[in-house]
Symmetry: C2
Subunit: 288 residues, 2 copies
Amino acid sequence: MPKVVECITEMRKVVAEARLAGKTIGFVPTMGALHEGHMTLVREAKKVCDVVVVSIFINPTQFGPNEDFDAYPRTWAEDLNACRSAGVDVVFHPHVHEMYPDNWGTWVTVEDVTDKLCGKSRPIHFRGVATVVTKLLNIVQPDKAFFGQKDAQQVVVLKKMVRDLNMPYEIVMVPIVRDVDGLAKSSRNVYLNSEQRQAALVLYKSLCKAQELCRSGEPDSRKIREAVIACIESVSLAKIDYVEIYSFPDLADIDTLDQDALLAVAVKFGTTRLIDNTILKSNHICGG
Amino acid sequence: MPKVVECITEMRKVVAEARLAGKTIGFVPTMGALHEGHMTLVREAKKVCDVVVVSIFINPTQFGPNEDFDAYPRTWAEDLNACRSAGVDVVFHPHVHEMYPDNWGTWVTVEDVTDKLCGKSRPIHFRGVATVVTKLLNIVQPDKAFFGQKDAQQVVVLKKMVRDLNMPYEIVMVPIVRDVDGLAKSSRNVYLNSEQRQAALVLYKSLCKAQELCRSGEPDSRKIREAVIACIESVSLAKIDYVEIYSFPDLADIDTLDQDALLAVAVKFGTTRLIDNTILKSNHICGG
């Protein structure tokens, strides 16, 4: 079984001992409800680091007042089992009050890359993410921390934060993991009924359409965006929140695909909002 | 001579080597114009750490648009000499663009303790301080960082920041150093003409008055505050910005001196704004 640590002081002690023994530390921050995507992060961490720490902490400060903090899936027993099977060394599982004690109040805010895509409809989300990841990184002090491309904007924000604040940690982005039918793994997929789940396959379909256009040499990002929107709108259960193309990793506006670009989509199926994305390569040899 | 480092990568290398050799690192962040106050910080650092790093960086982000960033005293040759005399090992002296490259934009903001005292008249000041100190701490990664009580609110803000973001560094507060006549050492004292400098002695005089009242058993913070204001207002060149008493280190409002309290004053002499403070001990055995 992985060692389960609830308290920050003990967590520091455990990593200090590992470090004294000359071991490198890989860190996978999660909010639990672990799925194959998280396990891929763990596998990547195990490949390049001696000790792997997974944090399971549903961070209240990254949920807006009308979001799903209370409803967010909590599956502690299954998560711990998954960590054991994957050979995780330490699970950090702090209580909310351990992370946010009385009189707590210091925020990390990242500018520019947070005011678009998910930042537009979730205005305080990335402030909460940047802040809690800063705290977790400072507690675990890993060599490398692993995040999924599924939350591509999150990776962009965290890489910028680490660079801007000169944090001595490396942020590693790991490709999206999908179900066999193409739906990106997400803890929120459990909210979908079978009809919605079927409809949600349009996300991956629309991204493949974009890659196809990109590979065929279409240089106009507006045309690709319109094709993606048309593809998603053909499914009546899908309600688009956004479909956007920005340069990657700067998230600057672009008209022409003359540099790597992030095509990111957020779509609601019933009350469940799903996100997905793909990187459109400027050399037109596009990956997934 | 101390080793002078201008680039972040080299600074990281220098401290990594010291750490590998098993040495502890003490850090004194400054904006240069070094005086006896800074040198006391260096001496304290040398007492408890193997390697002492002083940074000299006039941080633009902590100056408001109408403040003295351009006029701030720059005395590089003298500063380097002072560091040599004091036995400083490394002087970190980065250019502005090294610290704030293009597309830089991530801020650390500390709530509550920043909206009073100097934070009231200098609204963006502590955001700039918290952000640059975060960056410097992450670059130097010291065991302990030393700050003067002269900027008591700054120490409160940084201690809260380090605690709230779980930074693996210790903030040490070192008592105020004064000229023989009582004027607190400050890089901004050079702005004063001789008449203003004479007038500025009222600051220390007013703090001593408060300590006297405290020692005599006066429990009412309003009465002490009024006595300090009366004392300062007796000098016509002195224009009060604030005279405040808050609990220390929480900076909460207090009526009665039943806990340690910070008496802090900010007063203008001509265009030069000076600050000074003293800690009023709840046990009535008051220090300076």
